[in-house]
Amino acid sequence: MKGIKIDFILHWLWAVVFGLLLISGMALMGAKYGWLMNYQLPLADYLHRTLAAALVILTLISIGVEAGRLSKKTPKVMPWLVINKSLLGIFNLAATLLFVLSGIFLWICIEFSHSTIAFAYVIHDLVTFISMPVVIWHIYDKAYALPRE
């Protein structure tokens, strides 16, 4: 465990949290996907909301680390960082912002009109369906990090 860097920890924490958010979110999305969590929707709801808060914290830390890295004259190399100047890093930032903003609307839905909630649902679901193949593509792209023996 020696020599483990912050970008590595953030990357894998992000991956676990986002994966659990996806599976709990899909179970909540509709009866089609409820089997993913054996229709244990109270658990799915509890997981989804608490992990969403964790993802916001992880995002803020990642943005802070990246901003700190870029502000230096000779930026350190942080290959595992989730938010960076690469295409995937920018996608992560944009997708997380959309998830968080639409998620806030959905969480406190009582304060907003039905059309606002419906729009937030569409955005939240759409970003989910876009981000899933992106993650799968990322796993294939970085398959050399998956040891086979």
Partner: protein, 100 residues
């Protein structure tokens, strides 16, 4: 590090989780509908979630807390715009410095 057993376990577990989600989504999208029994099971789960989980609590009116969220949400959009603008200004200034 790629050869450490804890790393192998972590990487393969997380990758498997994502493949399970993707497979489940494809099965849900293109498979048969859930049927009446499964739909009822899901509805019951939602009712339970409203009773015992955060969902029900969130649907009650929490005047002050909700207002904090609403106000924060309204601040977020200008903050993002200002952040983007600031980033652009810094980038342009740096590129001018490099040219000079």
């Amino acid at each position: 590090m790629f050869n450490k057993s804890w790393y192998k376990f972590l990487a393969w577990s997380v990758a498997s989780l994502y493949f399970l989600i993707m497979a489940g989504t494809i099965a849900g999208l293109f498979g048969q509908g859930p049927g009446e029994a499964k739909s009822m099971l899901w509805m019951q789960g939602m009712m339970q979630a409203m009773q015992v989980s955060i969902m029900g609590w969130a649907m009650e009116s929490h005047e002050t807390l909700n207002q904090v969220f609403v106000k924060t949400g309204m601040l977020v959009f200008p903050a993002i715009f200002a952040g983007g603008l600031l980033g652009l200004v810094i980038r342009l200034r740096r590129s001018k410095q490099h040219e000079g």
